[in-house]
């Protein structure tokens, strides 16, 4: 079986994941898209592991670790999303813009000596 097939599936899944993360408004959908990306990575790992006949089975063991960490991560991500939902009653990423730059402060305070020079 040509190695390219799993790699292509992995690449496409990854691209879909990227699109999902960037285009989706709902935080949980973004988390799902992240899952997609992680799966793409796993597929890649396993494909290369089998292709290279790795003695240490590094690819597969890493896939296990990635799955574990992804599970932990998605758990925490959702906990945060739920917390946000409780505070803001919405999980729309567009709404969460509290950290944006407020409009610029009024013009810089003209220092004393600038005034002196100006007169």
């Amino acid at each position: 079986m040509p190695l390219l097939m799993p790699l292509m599936v992995g690449a496409l899944l990854f691209a879909l994941g990227v699109y999902g993360v960037l285009a989706r408004r709902n935080a949980i959908l973004v988390l799902m898209a992240v899952e997609l990306m992680l799966n793409a990575v796993n597929l890649n790992l396993v494909a290369f592991d089998v292709y290279l006949r790795d003695g240490l089975l590094a690819g597969q063991v890493f896939t296990l670790f990635v799955i574990t960490i992804a599970a932990a991560e998605i758990g925490l991500g959702l906990a945060i999303v739920l917390l946000v939902f409780r505070n803001r009653a919405t999980v729309e990423l567009d709404g969460l813009t509290d950290l944006r730059e407020t409009d610029p402060p009024t013009a810089l305070p003209v220092t004393a000596d600038e005034q002196a020079v100006a007169t």
Partner: protein
């Protein structure tokens, strides 16, 4: 065919058979069953009274914690299986056992934390 695939070929076939069986049953049912749509029938069932509000009910956050507890422990448990097959083999004796106990020990601490925090009980 390579016997490795053979094993799962059968599983695949069984899966297909199961799916086809269910679809067959449902299509047969579609043929046999009467269909007398009436508005009353299709309203959401709420002990006979008219349904109030939308189909969503506020549910407590603790369900999420249980689900998450399961996720964490499931992720531990899957390491048990390869360990189970390997730990008794020569060359992996007590040290592997100790490793797994350390592994499970940490997770048990997590469980203890949940327990002491009273996450598992509610009034």
């Amino acid at each position: 065919m390579h016997d490795f695939y053979g094993d799962y070929a059968l599983v695949g076939v069984v899966l297909l058979v199961g799916v086809s069986f269910v679809t067959a049953a449902l299509t047969a049912n579609r043929l046999l069953r009467p269909s007398a749509p009436a508005p009353g029938k299709r309203t959401t069932y709420e002990c006979g009274v008219d349904p109030v509000g939308e189909g969503w009910a506020q549910s407590h956050i603790r369900y999420y914690v249980f689900a998450y507890l399961y996720v964490i422990f499931a992720v531990d448990a899957i390491y048990l299986f390869p360990w189970a097959t390997v730990f008794a083999a020569p060359g992996y004796g007590a040290t592997t056992l100790a490793e797994m106990f350390v592994f499970l020990g940490f997770i048990a601490v997590g469980l203890l934390y949940a327990w002491r925090k009273g996450v598992l009980t509610w009034t």
